[in-house]
């Protein structure tokens, strides 16, 4: 793998060798169909810290041992080449012990209900159109295999379950202890200003952060599922921060719910859902009780209803928080907010669908380092046409902010079309235009993909981005990266990318090289990944 950075005056060539050392030792030949061993390695550009909008060059390697329905072990290590840091995640799962216990140890994520109180974090870029309602269903226990321990819990989780013919009941207790580092001054004063979310990134001693502390989470969820139609969960967990000696450390000092900070958070909720082929309904009331110099209790509710048939689909979802509500491990915002989302789609013919989405969010307290309360509304109209030979997606979006401190409305239109020219050749074209104030920025791109066989494909693409005024565009150079999210372009640029991909069953290889050139510099980036199972 190599990376080239050049500019008009100065050209710097930085070459890094990616060493893929694959050691297949003799014992592996003993494994057969019942045992799967795999290795994965690669280099990519990714965003690791969700509070930053900056991607880093990441070297990744890992190994998997899987005995289906019995045991699995996963180890992933990453080296951040830009920051020269190293981290890893691992997890071990023992499944179906005595027919009623699953056990997971290591790095894992939990997702209770719709993620209102406990859910897997997802990265939200600065793209004004990337913010969406965070309410979603996921598996309750999700082992973390990213190599980045920042956003996963670390400890043990059991799942006790009993399945009947049309009913499953379960209880999942968990314990997590995440070691992080704070400054000596903060440690001695017994409090930090930052949130646990920010503290989560301090996974190593660095600079002033030399004193180890432990973020402790424990609790559980009990649930019942019938016929895949009804799903109930009740959960409770507590969050604490302590030094090694057991010394209490307060966090979130001077925050909206407490001036002295939080010493302990108790969080709980109920989730009830009905879902069949046509109708889905759910409701999740929850509470947070923060113990600091006083006890502050807040409430929130996530809810949703949807209906669909062959002709239409309609759904409305929302989240309503009280002013004192705080959810440190929510999949969405940690602070109180009001969110509505309304979606409606009509499909008058099986190949055509059109509809609209309206999404509005309003914070109840100012965000981190902000003095005003944010709020915005996004409207979207979309249409899709899907035939055997051609797929067309079209949408028009508008985001408008409630707060006068924020930018003016942003309008964006997108059009993409995929054509199947033959069994082996595919063409994809896309274009975007974004208007903000008087500036109109735009994007045009095309991509050709050739399939050598059912397993291997080569894609090549060109993207032109034109930026006018203070109107940055969030875009990807096509063909898109498998890892990094979209990039912010503040000035006009050309981009060329080539991508070779092989995938057969679980084995895959992928390499992508991209060159981006703007007025002042040219940057080349390569990324690759290899996954082998034996």
């Amino acid at each position: 793998m190599f990376k080239i950075i050049s500019s008009q005056k100065n050209t710097q060539i930085k070459v890094m060798l990616l060493s893929l050392i694959i050691s297949i030792t003799s014992p592996l030949t003993a494994w057969s169909d019942d045992y799967i061993i795999g290795i994965k390695t690669g280099v990519s550009r990714e965003i690791l810290d969700y509070e930053e909008d900056k991607s880093n060059l990441i070297l990744r390697g890992g190994a998997v041992l899987d005995i289906p329905d019995t045991f699995s072990f996963n180890y992933t290590a990453i080296r951040n080449i830009d920051n020269d840091t190293f981290s890893y995640t691992w997890n071990l799962q023992v499944k179906e012990v005595s027919g009623f216990v699953n056990f997971t140890a290591g790095n894992y994520n939990l997702h209770f209900g719709s993620g209102l109180m406990m859910g897997r974090k997802s990265y939200s870029s600065g793209d004004p159109f990337s913010k969406k309602i965070s309410i979603a269903k996921e598996r309750t226990i999700v082992p973390s295999n990213s190599g980045n321990p920042q956003y996963s819990l670390y400890g043990t989780v059991f799942e006790f379950y009993k399945s009947f013919e049309e009913l499953k009941i379960y209880f999942i207790p968990f314990f997590s202890i995440q070691r992080r580092f704070i400054s000596r001054q903060s440690f001695e004063s017994g409090s930090i200003d930052s949130s646990l979310f920010s503290l989560n990134s301090k996974i190593e001693k660095s600079g002033n952060n030399t004193e180890p502390v432990n973020i402790i989470n424990y609790g559980g969820v009990a649930g019942l599922q019938t016929l895949s139609l009804f799903n109930f969960q009740i959960y409770y967990f507590e969050t604490d921060l302590k030094g090694d000696s057991g010394k209490d450390i307060l966090w979130d000092k001077n925050k909206y719910y407490s001036r002295d900070g939080a010493d302990l958070i108790k969080q709980g909720g109920l989730f009830a859902e009905y879902a069949d082929n046509n109708i889905s309904l759910f409701i999740e009331p929850a509470f947070s009780s923060i113990t600091g110099s006083e006890v502050v209790t807040g409430y929130a509710m996530a809810w949703g209803a949807g209906i669909q048939n062959h002709l239409m689909n309609f759904s409305v979802k929302g989240k309503n928080s009280g002013y004192n509500f705080h959810s440190e491990y929510s999949s969405g915002s940690r602070t109180p907010e009001r969110i509505w989302e309304l979606k409606c789609g009509i499909s008058p013919h099986r190949i055509f669908k059109t509809g609209f989405i309206v999404y509005t969010e309003k914070d109840l307290v100012p965000g981190y380092n902000k003095k005003y309360i944010e709020g915005s509304v996004e409207e979207e109209i979309f249409s899709t046409l899907n035939t055997e030979k051609i797929d067309i997606d079209m949408n028009f979006k508008r985001r408008e902010y409630y707060s006068t401190d924020r930018e003016h409305p942003i309008n964006q239109g997108n059009l993409s079309a995929s054509l199947s020219l033959s069994d082996r050749i595919y063409l994809k074209v896309r274009s975007s235009a974004q208007k903000k104030d008087e500036g109109i920025s735009g994007l045009g791109g095309c991509e050709v993909r050739y399939l050598f066989s059912g397993y291997m494909g080569l894609s090549m693409g060109y993207t032109r981005i034109v930026i006018k005024g203070e109107n940055p565009l969030y875009a990807m150079i096509t063909p898109a990266s498998e890892h990094s999210s979209i990039t912010r372009f503040d000035e006009s640029a050309h981009g060329v990318s080539v991508n070779l991909k092989y995938k057969k069953e679980k084995n895959s290889f992928y390499i992508r090289y991209t060159v981006t050139q703007n007025d002042s510099s040219r940057e080349g980036d390569a990324e690759s990944a290899l996954v082998l199972f034996f």
């Binding site: 895949s228 046509n278 109708i279 209803a305 048939n309 002709l311 409606c344 009509i346 309206v358 509304v377």
Partner: protein
Amino acid sequence: MKIALLIYAAIVYQGAFEYKTGAPDSLFPMQIAVHDYSSPVVMLNPALLPFADGFIAGSSAGRPYTNEQLTTAGSAIQYGSGGDFGMQFSWDSFGADFYRENTFSLSAGYSIFPFLNAGVSGSIHWLKIDTGEINQDEQIPEGGYGILFAPLPWINAAFYQTGIAALAGKQNSEIIYPERSAGVLLKPGKGFSLAWNITETAALYANTFSAVINPAPFFSVKGGYCRENSSFSAAMGILAKDSMGILAKDFYISYGLKFHPYLGYTHSVGITYTPGSRMESLYYGKPLFGPVRKKININTASFDEIKLIDGLSLISAERIILFREKIGPITEKGLMQIGLTGDEIKNLEKNVYGLERTSRSKEGGEKYTSKKKK
């Protein structure tokens, strides 16, 4: 007193009677030209009255913007022939103890042609303010007219003009703002409609969008959005039928929730007596609330049961039976061996249970999947 002065300032600036009916099914606190009429609702545009089917009488009450002093109330009696003509008498009230707007309206609509309805309304607006410092008691007659064009069964386009006396330049133009609204209603399928209206109010041109779905013949759900003030609204109604037992029959009970990002929530409830009324519901192709996703045990189900699984071909169903007969309980790996793709297996797993795990072969007598080498 503060709220009294604010309301009075609003009247001086924009006029009174801006806040329209507070009935739950009325998704927006403003006049709109066309709306869904598949459930028993108060018709806002008299040109819609010919669509009323039979007699209804109802009342509603609400609390705008969760303000303890503000209330709304209303009642209506309506009769329609279900196509030719209809009429309605309604009363709406909005305000607080010291400020009250009452509107009494009589409306009638007639179908001139099968594709064209027209309607007129006459109203008495009664404004009463008594704050000690400000006293006003005034009754203002007003009128309005509406037209509805329905070229096809699935599309209605309508226009509604209120305050025609104020429009003609009478003195009450300082209190009554003549509003006009135009809109389109689409009914792409049974029990489902979409509406878009543009209404000129004293403050702005408001674009309102609404969707109404009747998931069942006794249940209606409505959602609305006004893009100018980013407000959302939702309403639901239940039509009590004989079969429901617990409720008196022929009553339609509704609840509405409106959300304005700055002013807060508005709650409202309504009850309507509607003898013989029916609601057209969505078409699903199979009974609603039936065992649409009841899972079957793939290792004990008959061929007839398996072949009915959505997305599973007849050949695959035959192979599953053959696998069971020749090899043993069906497994995930077995499904792959008989040629099912990953997507087909995922779909199958949604509809069945009892798939034998591959590793269970160690426990079960037959080693049909265990190939572990030594």
